[in-house]
């Protein structure tokens, strides 16, 4: 199961703060897809994944949403 977290329009630290809360509420093996518009989220999620105890970063990509706006998508897995 993949849960979706939409943090479009939010700036740091909100995407990480919310993602951490969501990850903590997931069961091991479940996925979290975070959709952000803050370009800084790319490096921040990579950095956070290095120290995160319960999450691992599976994928990161840049995309465009339905409104044509650039989005940054981070796919995380609850690992322990």
């Amino acid at each position: 199961m993949t849960k979706r977290l939409d943090v479009r329009g939010a700036k740091c630290p909100i995407p990480i703060v919310k993602a951490k809360k969501e990850i903590d509420a997931l069961a091991v093996g479940e996925m979290l897809e975070v959709i952000a518009t803050d370009p800084g989220s790319m490096a921040d999620f990579r950095g956070w994944a290095k120290t995160a105890k319960h999450a691992s970063l599976r994928e990161q990509r840049t995309d465009t949403d339905e409104g044509g706006k650039t989005i940054f998508v981070h796919l995380l897995e609850r690992t322990s």
Binding site: I16, V17, K20, G40, A43, D44, G47, K53
Partner: protein
């Protein structure tokens, strides 16, 4: 107690050598790219904000015996959260408002002392944009001021000139900048002031600016008052249109033609040989004829070591003639070769910034903030290239 401090207040504390700990909570990539620098070393602890969010007990490891803690991040929100978490633990911690974005845009005005016979007739204010190593100037005489090489953050110049009790009578760019968006085209019309920048060969700016001719004298200070002569000197090379301004008798604003430690790189237009030759002629002819006692006030500096005891970036031309490596080169071919050797790839955004400054592309404020992050790379830096070789 306020929970935030401005970049200006922070830099004041650092420059006075006050005890403090700067807690930089940005990610590793941004911290490696650029950070707060002071005239004294800044005691800095780097730990990304997401580490503290992941593991709150890490907050207890932040040393609080080094003086008050000032937390900084990219834009000021993450550091605000971390400072608050520290305060909840009873630690003296404050946020640096606006973060590195504000650091990159903040201006520190410093008054340049003049010769005794010129003191009181006019003032030269060096506006130091510490985050980028950019210098702009406000020349003030009586009720009038001209702004030279303004940054995009024009409200700061407007506020400053207002505190002087003057109005902005003219706005000049020494050249078409590549490293930052000029505030000139936006600032001048707001004050019905004359705006001047010379584009040079292949670039037509006549539609937008009021041209200043080589040798022209600009009077400042209003009718019947004391007048100050600002003379326009064509000094091509860094760009074909590069212009210097002689203010009063003894101060030359050289833009990116001559710095305190080097010269402006002639390769940003993609014509290093042609522009390099132009720069050599400017340095060995036009600049060479100027007196030793002339004080050079450049548009950039490469490190805080170039800021003198009084907080000013300046150099006596006679001293620079002995110390600037590029001024020691005697032949045009050697000079062009040295420029080619020092050549380094300019940041990709420089082309976009040039297009905006030429009026060929509209300005997107948010993009401009991103483009301008980090220090300028406008110097030719033969010295650095030589060090790498040796």
């Amino acid at each position: 107690m306020s929970t935030a401090i401005s970049v200006g207040e922070l830099l004041g504390k650092i420059d006075r050598g006050e005890r403090l700990l700067l807690l930089d909570v940005r990610n590793d990539e941004e911290f490696e790219r650029w950070r707060v620098e002071g005239r004294h070393p800044v005691e800095t602890l780097h730990r990304p904000y997401f580490d503290f969010i992941e593991e709150e007990t890490l907050l207890d490891q932040v040393p609080h015996d080094r003086g008050p803690i000032y937390a900084i991040c990219a834009k000021g929100d993450s550091s605000d959260l971390i400072a608050e978490m520290l305060r909840d633990r009873g630690v003296d911690a404050r946020n640096v408002a606006g973060g590195m974005l504000a650091y990159g845009e903040s201006l520190q005005p410093v008054r340049v002392p003049l010769d005794p016979d010129e003191e009181g007739r006019f003032d030269i204010w060096q506006m130091n944009r510490r985050g980028k190593g950019c210098l702009s100037y406000v020349i003030h005489s009586r009720a009038e001021a001209v702004v030279i090489d303004p940054s995009r953050n024009i409200a700061e110049y407007e506020r400053f000139v207002e505190t002087l009790g003057a109005k902005i009578a003219g706005v000049f760019d020494t050249h078409v900048h590549a490293d930052h968006v000029s505030g000139g085209p936006a600032l001048a019309p707001r004050h019905h002031a004359r705006y001047f920048v010379a584009g040079g060969s292949g670039v037509d700016l006549r539609q937008r600016v009021d041209p200043a001719r080589d040798g022209e004298q600009i009077r400042l200070g209003g009718p019947g008052g004391v007048t100050l002569t600002v003379s326009v000197l064509s000094t091509p090379g860094h760009t074909p249109g590069s212009t210097s301004f002689l203010v009063g008798r003894n101060h030359l604003l050289t833009g990116d033609t001559l710095f305190v430690g080097s010269v402006g790189r002639p390769d940003l237009g993609g014509h290093v040989v042609e522009w390099g030759k132009m720069l050599f002629r400017t340095l060995t002819d036009r600049i060479a004829r100027l007196p030793d006692d002339l004080v050079i006030l450049p548009a950039h500096y490469a490190s805080t070591a170039e800021i003198d005891e009084q907080g000013i970036v300046r150099g006596r031309l006679g001293d620079l003639r002995r110390t600037v490596p590029e001024l020691q080169i005697r032949t045009e071919s050697e000079f062009v070769e040295a420029m080619k050797k020092a050549l380094k790839t300019p940041p990709a955004v420089y082309e976009q910034i040039i297009r905006v400054n030429l009026g060929l592309q509209p300005l997107d404020e948010e993009k401009a903030s991103e483009w301008e992050l980090g220090k300028n790379q406008c110097a030719a830096s033969v010295r650095r290239a030589a060090e790498v070789v040796s």
